[in-house]
Amino acid sequence: MANLLPSVQDILLLTPEIIILLSGLLILLITPFVEPKYQRITPSLAIAGSLLAFIASQSLGAGHRVILNGMISVSLYSAFFQNIFLIVNFLVVLLSLTYLEEEFANMGEYYAMLMFATLGMMLMAASSDLLSIFLALELMSVSLYILAGYFRRHSESNEAAIKYYLTGVLASAFMLYGISLIYGITGTTNLRAVGDFIGVSGSLARDPALGMAMLMLVMGFGFKIAAVPFHMWLPDVYEGSPTCVTAFMSVGPKAAGFAAVLRVFYVGLGSLRLEWTVIFAILSVLTMTTGNLLALTQKSVKRMLAYSSIAHAGYAILGLTVAGTALEGAGMSSLLFYMFSYLFMNVGAFAVLILLRKKALTSESLDDFNGLAQRAPFLAFLMAILLLSLTGLPPTVGFVGKFYVFGAVIQVALTGNGFYGLLAVIAVVNAAISAFYYLRLLMNIYLKDGAETLTWRYSHSLMFVIVFSALATLYFGIFPGSILSLAQQSVKILL
């Protein structure tokens, strides 16, 4: 217990987190003193903070250091996820700007909560201890509860917040119970130490409580990544929340959840992988199928995207099941790449929804997009790229993401594991089902005639987000190599 105080080098490794924290605090501090006509100063601060943190995280280097008494491990793995979160934060701040101004809700608190949620996600990806994972997750979740209910005069937003809150807190309680059991079995909460202890002297046969703890953790994290059957909250919360918050929630917390799940199950409960791969395989089949089938029946585009995000979580869980086999590296890196690919296409699609919307908070139906191509050819083209990417067609990043996840599953199947062959077939069938509802929207845009039913809310920042997302979707679809090799290097520290 000699080195309770962290050294300066250790603190410097946390520069991106500290920048985000400070900019969040600064925003909170100046908000009461900003006059209404200078309202844009707080989002500018948020953008500056996320850009600075992004630069800082690029300059950290490739080393792997465990700091703060084993609570945080700074590595390429955490940096990969942190970059995802910082890009999401940057894009979401940009697309919130005009949306909130129109709702007369452009206040500093919103950006402060966004920064704190990002901080929680960044710490979650870097945590290497069950306690710090829990605390980071709570920082993220509590900020998101507030963001979901940010339009406090809208009943829909209230409802989204209370539903998210109740299920989220319940999930936290389950997760904590699981953590307490693991602590009771192993006497520690550090994931490496837990993994070593279980690997040497623990087994399900000797410790039935271990299975219980694993199930509790699956439930807790399952709520966070919205795996079926723990998904019930998601469509309501996504529909009721402000659309910019939905864009944030559909990418950030999910990626953070997967970052933590990978660490907890692979590092901490690695010797129980035979058990948890089966659990995750079942969850992934349920998640993909339920998400896609329910998305088929939706009239509202926002709700359709909500269900499609459940389905995408299902594909990502496939990567998790491969992580429990001999091809663990391929499984994990495909999961990381999938999270990265999901970021641009989803934020872009939600940005289009913000640009074209009805006056009310509840969102536009599929028919409102009829004939969009005649009225706004450029926007329709960008939306087409994003939808093709969500479907998983080349030459977009969505195709590459699906290709590597499915490829990893098929590789396992080729080693003679028929179970994974079945998984691959189900996944491909699901991708085909998902094509139906994405391409139906595309058909509405291009092939149908329709009158203008939506109000245009054009702004430069919003258009920038859409163009940026569409370009990134294409660029990383054609040149996925750099990100892919980064993902492969990132997971090495877990192996």
Binding site: G149, N158, E159, Y165, Y177, L181, Y183
Partner: protein
Amino acid sequence: MIPLTYYLGLGAALFTIGLIVVLTRRNILVIFMSIELMLNAVNINFVAFSRYFDHLQGDIIAIFVITVAAAEAAVGWGIVVSIFRNRGDVDIENINLLKW
């Protein structure tokens, strides 16, 4: 000395009671109270294990959990207050604008 299993039994019982109440009651205030009950059931586990191992780690975790529970409760009450302002009641059966 009271054996460890008694504490764990108490924790498990309180957790289960909390869960049952969360799933069956309709008043948000009661649900909030039972969520607190669940979190404190976990605290009993942590403190009991900590005592059993004779180190402080579990006690520290319990303090963190209490802090987090307080922050969560504050946000939760804020949400309930805004619901009450908009609707005039806090019965969860009536919170049904968003479905399917």
